[in-house]
Amino acid sequence: MKKVVMGNHAVSYGVRASEVKVISAYPITPQTHVVELLSELVANGEIDAKFIKVESEHSAMAACVGASAAGSRAFTATSSQGLLLMTEMLHWAVGARLPIVLTNVNRAIGPPWSIWTDQNDSLSMRDVGWIQIYCESNQETQDAIPQAFKIAEEVNLPVMLVLDAFFLSHTYEIVDLLETEQVRDFLPPYNPEIKLDTNDPHSFGNLASPDYYMELRYMIEEAMNDARSVIKRVGKEFGEHFGRYYDMVVPYRCDDADVILVTSGTVASTTRAVIDEMRDEGIKIGALKIRVFRPFPFKEVSDILCSTKKVAVLDRNISFGNHGVFYQEVKSALYGKTDIPIIGYVLGLGGRDVTPKVIREIADKAIKDKNPEPYINWIGVKR
């Protein structure tokens, strides 16, 4: 059923379709609608779940951790400060190997207070061990949820889905809503073998000596690596079920491009429009959207980018002191494979609009820029 819905509600519908059993969340702009609609769907019985209305995001994740450990599918949504408050429990979910799904609405971090989008909240969680997937449309924010559970439950790692504040969260788009019955084939009910079970008692997470901690971490890394193929397969399977295919990266007119703009999130859509415009002008330019940030798609990224002459990375985030995060990641993906220039641009922080004009500016600049700058290119800063 197609419906015009805001991104946040698309998230809620994705949760409904995934037969989530325990929801625990705490409201924060710009995620509040997710919580509100979920409350309603649980209250009216459309979702057969318990909604634990906690007193903080920290507790929201803790509740999810508990529920998931008990063998139930658990979901939460948050943003910015909330995600940061969760940090400790995000780690806990990973260490405990719990397939929790979280949707994070990208919002800038205070102070000063800002409710508008940028990626610093989610990207500051890059080393935690969550699989991270950046969504570009309302349709995707919904579709990503059953996929996320499928991936998570297979590799025993939690998945964070990310969408831009307002540009998606509050923006209405037509979404083909998933029906629970359809999804059940794709995503069977969660029934883990290992769980908190009085008939099979184990103690989870007790003290590990230096003898074993590393191995347990290594296993997380292994799971992360396994996730690459799982994510791809699940994206394909989803396509087979619902006609919408998803992959690690989305290249756009990259084949003969001399310059490729690397993007993520909603900036990718804008960028594609600019690419079309420039191609019409005969400029050989393409774009590469990185959809899955963790595990980082090294192979996909290097395969595509090694065939071009110059790479420009658009970061809606800043890793103070060392460029944008995507820039660092792309550079490391290409290390030793090519010596083409890789140039990083920081833009759109705190919800600053990333218009086609801004992207065109970057594209033009990128074509001209000879060498990667040792310093960070801040786009549009009033100097």
Binding site: G95, N156, H202, F204, G205, A208, E215, M219
Partner: protein, 559 residues
């Protein structure tokens, strides 16, 4: 003990950080530097009881309502708890740890309740062991003789019991009045003893006169002498033999045999022991105005304290620090007594302060009857010179009553001088046991180790203060009007109430505390004991500290 899991590769590890086994591989016993050990002690009451009754144990059995087993436990050391339960001076209670907390456990009353149960349940008495060939003569049927006869007969040895009187029991029979120990009770006590095995009685047979000791020695494999002290000591003052002056013992004998005596005269009893009390109170019951005259003070009186108290309550008068100096007779009949006033001097060998006359201080009393109760002495005629004596008593060499003659043993008052029922019982048993050991060629058991045990060994937090449960009694008014038994036995409820006060000093009573509190679950609770699993005991000693009764001790590690 389980083995510690060791992973060689991460591939062997569970997908989630979860446990696969318990911690038993971790033998925390190595943390310990001192170790707790279960170590029962001998309760002080047991050491206090001359017969060595296992008081602690039978009290626990009573708590468990195992009355038969409780009674059997007493019978192991004392065949007449119904009697001792009534008349014993209960030194056990003097040793009772509870006495330093609130009031000693009323062991005596518990014993008498059990004794009565035993009388009511003759079936409780086990059969004597199979008959043996050897036979023993026992002379005297007081507590010593009865006790010796009982343990010998129980062991299957045939006993012939010689008694000069018609009725058996010795002092129990003709000394102690019925209001303390009714004849009907005594009859049943004696009956139960006689029924316990092959005992034949030769009453009204005076050894030494009717039959010679030598004959007994020749025809029996062993002889036990328990003839007690038969004669009253004399005052040694003028006119002692005049009419109206009588030995207290004689008087009691007559009272106990039912003679209808007229005592309705002003009566004076000389002495401060049990005999004096019994004489005074008996005379009182016969309608007399009685005054006990004692040469020291109440504190030095050898009589059982409660007997003195009862006598006072009943209206017996006391005159302390006075001794008869002269009896004034008129026409061969007692009329007055002149008393010498005394004061207390230096302590004598008994530890009591010696009475010394106050020069020139005398007083005179009009007296209708005078009873002497200043002590009893032995009549050794039938036994000397064959048996060695000392201080007019039979001399024994060991703790089992061995006399100079190989197969002749002695015990009771005839050895100790005026003592107590329970000591006589103990002597009888010990001699019997020794005789049996000689018969079967067994060595003496090692001496019981005496452990120090006091209130500091009790974790008083586990107890609440309470008063001793007293035997119900008839009123003083009722009591002094006749010879009805004053104290009644405990019913089950009172019995349970009182046994509940016992600390079970030094002896595990399975209270579970140690097991309950062990932080390391290192104590294994078995049906009949606890075991410490030293593989895991960390030696915190919580168990030792929380044992209410010091039934655990501490040992240095490696000992």
């Amino acid at each position: 003990m389980s083995k510690q899991i060791k992973f060689e590769s991460y591939r062997e590890m569970p997908i989630r950080p979860m446990t696969l086994d318990n911690m038993l591989w971790n033998e925390t016993g190595s943390w310990r530097n001192v170790k707790p050990v279960y170590d029962n002690k001998v309760s002080p009451c047991i050491l206090g009881c001359p017969a060595g009754e296992n008081i602690q144990h039978y009290i626990q059995l009573v708590i468990d309502k195992k009355y038969k087993e409780a009674w059997e436990t007493i019978i192991e050391s004392n065949p007449m708890p119904a009697a001792t339960g009534r008349v014993c001076s209960h030194p056990c209670m003097g040793k009772c740890t509870r006495g330093d907390y609130d009031e000693a456990v009323n062991i005596n009353a518990i014993e008498s309740a059990l004794g009565d149960m035993g009388l009511d349940n003759p079936g409780w008495m086990r059969e004597s062991e199979k008959a043996k060939k050897k036979k023993v003569a026992v002379i005297g049927s007081g507590p010593a003789g009865l006790s010796a006869a009982f343990y010998l007969a129980r062991g299957g040895y045939s006993v012939t019991l010689y008694e000069s009187e018609k009725a058996l029991g010795g002092v129990l029979r003709w000394g102690i009045p019925e209001y303390r120990l009714p004849n009907c009770v005594l009859d049943r006590v004696i009956e139960s003893i006689l029924n316990s095995g092959p005992i034949s009685v030769k009453a009204e047979t005076v050894v030494g006169k009717d039959i010679k000791l030598k004959e007994l020695e020749d025809s029996f494999d062993a002889v036990f002498i328990g003839v007690g002290l038969m004669e009253s000591r004399k005052l040694g003052i003028p006119n002692e033999d005049c009419e109206g002056v009588e030995s207290g013992l004689e008087y009691l004998k007559r009272v106990n045999s039912g003679d209808n005596l007229d005592s309705s005269k002003k009566t004076v009893v000389i002495g401060g022991g049990n005999t004096a009390m019994d004489v005074a109170r008996s005379a009182l019951r016969k309608g007399s105005d009685v005054t006990v005259v004692y040469r020291r003070t109440q504190a030095e009186m050898p009589a059982i304290a409660s007997e003195i108290e009862e006598a006072e309550k009943e209206g017996v008068n006391f005159r302390f620090l006075a001794a008869p100096k002269e009896i004034v007779a008129e026409g061969g009949k007692l009329s007055k007594v002149i008393f010498q006033e005394m004061e207390l001097g230096e302590p004598d060998e008994s530890g009591r302060r010696r009475p010394v006359p106050l020069e020139g201080k005398t007083f005179t009393m009009e007296v209708g009857r005078l009873f002497t109760a200043i002590g009893e002495k032995a009549d050794l005629d039938g036994f000397v010179p064959e048996i060695d004596t000392e201080w007019d008593l039979i001399k024994v060499s060991g703790e089992f009553g061995e006399t100079n003659s190989k197969n002749i043993f002695a015990g009771g008052d005839i050895v100790t001088g005026a003592a107590s029922v329970v000591e006589a019982v103990a002597a009888g048993r010990k001699a019997a046991e020794k005789i049996i050991r000689i018969f079967i060629g067994e060595a003496d058991p090692p001496k019981q180790e005496e452990t120090e045990f006091g209130i500091e060994n009790i974790n008083v937090d586990y107890f609440t203060k309470s008063n001793r449960t007293l035997k119900p009694r008839i009123s003083v008014e009722e009591a002094k009007n006749g010879f009805e038994e004053i104290f009644r036995g405990f019913d089950e409820q009172l019995l349970q109430k009182e046994v509940d006060r016992c600390f079970s000093c030094g002896v595990c009573n399975y209270c579970d505390n140690c097991w309950v509190y062990c932080p390391d679950a290192a104590i294994v609770r078995k049906d009949d004991r606890y075991e410490i699993d030293y593989d895991y005991c960390k030696g915190c000693l919580v168990c030792v500290e929380e044992c209410p009764r010091s039934a655990l001790s501490i040992e240095e590690e490696g000992k």
